[in-house]
Symmetry: C2
Subunit: 425 residues, 2 copies
């Protein structure tokens, strides 16, 4: 029913959304650093946030503004995370929301139905260096300028996606459609990632728009489920950021019957499409992990439950030794088995097996019942080739039950160190 | 009372111990790969082992042989971990013990009082590549040769320390002395580390000898405490190895009154000296972490208890972003605060503070009560200098209680990736 599209349209594809992105001068590089997403009507809104205990000021403010389950705009800056900045940081985050509301009131677009929004209708996000005050004068001028340039087109989508990047090499965008009772429903999202990417979550921002008509509580549950199956199962460097969030705004413009509960086919179809969209964005984030040259997929199967499968998978995707083996295309599978071994799950090696390669694609079993298999020369060559692909797949069966999960990680390269050894200076 | 010595003597310094190390041909490089430590009498023995669930075969065998709290020899090979090798691996580990017992019986040294030991008096350890069978013929010949070359001198100490190395750049050895009731008691140890170093533990092997006269149960408790305060508070790359162990053999030759309980001044003095010795070896391991150019010390203070202090410290020493910042000498302290933030401990930023630099040595407070401090140009320069030292110190106060712990980590360099991206091939 749902179909992921690779086109360039993203967050302004769903009916009712406008966006803009530009340089306001936070980044010394002069690259774009401020984005704005605005809906032409109040939207149902939901968010998921980092579980860090040292959350940034924008998260304090956005969580508060989300309490009513409604929002109409999102303002995002890159280059400065406004985190570990105390009370002053919170004042700045609130001021960003007020700037947006004020400027929109003064610059109402004729195409917008209703832009008389309050500061509490605005959500705010920041990403970048930690522990520095925001340059509020530049941000204020930037917001004033962005409001005059809001658009509904490819350029607006691309400008917003670029303006939220930090060390990302490529902008990340996706969109999807589904049909509910004959009506087309659009979903789209932009994201940024690159470093500090870990479950729960990394410096990961995702902003999703949809014209679905859905109650805030149902939207929240759909987003929580989608994030658990996507953003919370990726890791670039296990360092959970204080700034992460994924937000979704639903304009309701698609015209189908409102989804007001978390049961029923319509809810299921919407939630599944949202999950696919988030997985698509999550994949783009891992693929563009700092210094990454390869993605690897970890399929944990036959676990007792998803929770223990997640623990095993996380130990593997976070292991620097596994990540280096993937980088070198080195079939050093002992590192995968031993990472599982220290995950804290009471594994029994005699019941475990490890296959390398996509299960549908002539994978090679390297470890069975706690013992290495013996591979002939041809199999060794095929194993080497499977390890050198752009996407490497590990399938670890635990022999404990029926649960399975899939995680994504990326390799660890010299470039990661180069990027991160000299970031503030 | 105890004094750490920097001399070259190590494991054969305590009375009653002999050692040897040589090349038997496991490593393709031709570097030394087999070590033997033998006592001239049955010793009280104790060990601590990795908490990995995929432990190597030598650990299965050594744990079994330690049940009686007694041992007389330790045989160690490097270049092959004999891990993830199933039942065949266990047979090989047992065969190594039997080889040692048999060869010692055939080559009794005149200086040794009693070498009629059983295979179960021999402990075995292996380190290196995972998932490959041991070349037992070479190891057998190697053991036969080592038995004829056992010595009690600097050369024997150095040979053994070198033969247990894998990617270590330097051998690791330490010794210490204390006086109990007028008698000199010697302790000494060798260790290897480098990669797969994480608490509980890394590919970390430590072999300690002492001529203290101490009951096995007291020796075990002293070793467990010493390991918790040293080897279990270091991390090079968080990948807990399946092969780690620290073993101690006590010959009892020092001639003081036997320490039979875990109370009393003598026990305390011995345990403290053992802890210092283990900390010394642990420091050497971190300093020689794969690709490491700097060590950093994380002091967590004012925690509610040691357990939560350990969680916060571990999150910091394992963070690749913190490790990269240390590598670049970059005072990007937000990474330290946010690593604490994702440790899972319910921290309150408003009560936290972070000082960089040794507290006794003009440290700089960069974060106080959840807010960055403002530093002048001079302070910024001093902060930069503190970050570029060979040893960098972070002091994070949590404001929750009175507990404190100290951990050690090392930086993450391009060289770490180079070493680990191409290890098996």
């Amino acid at each position: 029913m749902a179909k992921l599209k690779a086109s360039k349209r993203s967050i302004t594809d769903p009916v009712g959304f406008y966006a803009a992105g530009a340089t306001c001068g936070i980044k010394a590089s002069g690259l774009p650093d401020l984005a704005l997403i605005v809906a032409d009507r109040p939207c149902a809104a939901a968010g998921v946030f980092t579980r860090s205990r040292t959350i940034g000021a924008p998260l304090v403010v956005s969580k508060r503004h989300l309490r009513a389950g409604q929002a109409q705009a999102v303002v995002v800056n890159s280059g400065n995370a406004n985190a570990s900045t105390g009370k002053a940081g919170e004042r700045d985050a609130k001021a960003m929301c007020k700037h947006v509301a004020d400027e929109l009131a003064h610059n109402m677009l004729t195409t917008m139905r209703d832009v008389s929004l309050k500061p509490s209708d605005v959500l705010v996000a920041s990403t970048g260096i930690i522990g520095h005050p925001l340059p509020m004068d530049r941000i204020g001028r930037g917001i004033a300028s962005l409001v005059t340039r809001l658009g509904r087109n490819e350029q607006a989508d691309a400008d917003a996606a670029r303006a939220i990047m930090t060390t990302d090499l490529a902008p990340k965008a996706a969109h999807a459609r589904l049909t509910l009772a004959g009506k087309t429903v659009r979903l789209a999202g932009i994201a940024k990632g690159s470093g500090m990417i870990a479950p729960n979550m990394g410096t990961m921002l995702a902003f999703i728009t949809t014209d679905a008509d859905i109650a805030p509580a149902a939207l929240q549950q759909a987003l929580t489920g989608a994030a658990d199956a996507s953003f919370n199962r990726i890791s670039v460097d296990q360092h959970t950021s204080p700034s992460d969030m994924a937000l979704v705004l639903a304009s309701g413009a698609a015209g189908h019957d409102r989804i007001s509960r978390t049961t029923g086919d319509d809810y299921r179809a919407f939630a599944d499409t949202l999950t696919e969209l988030c997985r698509n964005l999550a994949y783009q984030i891992v693929q563009d992990g700092e210094g990454a040259t390869r993605v690897f997929r970890v399929n944990i199967t036959h676990a007792r439950n998803e929770r223990e499968a997640d623990r095993v998978a996380k130990a593997i995707v976070d292991s620097p030794l596994v990540k280096c083996a993937v980088h070198g295309g080195d079939p050093n599978w002992g590192r995968i088995v031993t990472a599982a071994g220290y995950s804290g799950v009471a594994l029994q090696p005699a019941k475990m097996s490890l296959l390398i390669g996509d299960p549908d694609d002539k994978s090679i079993c390297v470890y069975r019942a706690g013992t290495p298999t013996s591979l002939n020369g041809n199999e060794m060559r095929r194993l080497g080739a499977l390890m050198r692909r752009r996407e490497v797949v590990f399938n670890l069966a635990l022999g404990r039950g029926e649960a399975s999960v899939q995680w994504l990680g990326c390799d660890l390269s010299r470039q990661y160190v180069t990027i991160n050894a000299d970031y503030t200076t």
